[in-house]
Amino acid sequence: MKVLRIVGAVAMLAAVAGIAGLHSLRGLALGLLAGLTCYLALARSMARALRAALPVLVFALSLTAVQIIFRMPVTNLAVKTVASFFFITSAFRIYPWANLLAGVSPLSPLFTLTCYLLFVRHFSLIFTSEAVRLLQARSLCITKPYGRGSFRSLVAALVALFERSLVRAERFYAAQSLRGLAE
């Protein structure tokens, strides 16, 4: 079963490489459709899957909008981005990447890469929770959501978020360093 999962995940990653090399619009449309099918088929909940894809879709639409507004050539980068997202997410649904750590040698570069991705994921969670706390605190201080005072408090909250993130990053690094993960 494990081998099948690995083969499936590798096939998905190969599809990403294939998408990157595609130029024909028809091929890209088919790739996008295939990616979307895999993505939705492997998702636990349709609504959650669509919500998770939203930031990537917004990014792709913004990219295309910028190209149109500034009269630049409209490339197929946005389509490739979305299709790659579908395939990469599917690959890691088939074989969760965090599990790689238990299956590879600590001397392998894959071990270091997985550790690094776990650090990034963990710190993103810390960053998000700090941001939510600060925005909640700010919302208790302001009387109206827009205006001068509101803007100033938002700037102050962002500065505080930067400082807190630095402190948390420093502590996280120190803790992992002491656990020998920097060796």
């Binding site: 550790c115 996280f172 120190a174 002491l178 656990r179 060796e183």
Partner: protein, 230 residues
Amino acid sequence: MKSVLEVESLTFAYDSAHPVLEGITFSVLEGECVGIVGANGAGKSTLLWCLLGLLKAAGAVRFFGEKLHRRHLARIGVVFQNPEDQLFMPRLIDDITLPLVNRGMSRALAAERAMAALAGAGLEDMTHRPANQLSLGERKRAAIAAALAGSPDLLLLDEPTAELDGRAVRQLADVLKGLTVARLIVSHDLSFLHGLAERIFVLAGGRIVAQGPTNQILSDRGLLERAALV
């Protein structure tokens, strides 16, 4: 009994005009539980960071008589105030085995050690859950289990009871009481240290202003007031 940790004339300053720590001297013996108490801003966490070499301080820190070196850190377990700084893996057991495997231990032995450490912390039913799904008290105990899985000679704990409710504090104290490893607990929670520590050092304004058996220190109301602890 041998000294596990000896600290002599430790001095640290972020800027030379205002030293945060000045002339700190103390020791921790084998199997002993020592408390360092101080009000907020007294320099407790800075002291821990200096002991571990994370901040460069003047003075001497010796581990079993040798100058503390990076290679000694594998024999020191550290529990940070916020367990989120330590636990980040998808499963608790992975969090505990990772440093062991990374230091060359076989996966089977590391898993065995991790299970034993989690059982010691009363978390044997939670091995496959991520740390962020546990309560704060459970996460603190998990962080202690992670530190103990490496069989350290010294356990350092930074504010272990911060933000914990009464029951979680009691459970944490039970875990720590059952240990035979030397422990250095930095805290401002006097009632927590009362049943745990054998000796207490009082830190105020970056200096150790008093030291002695726990009962003697905690019964000196004037001293605790001067140190802003009550």
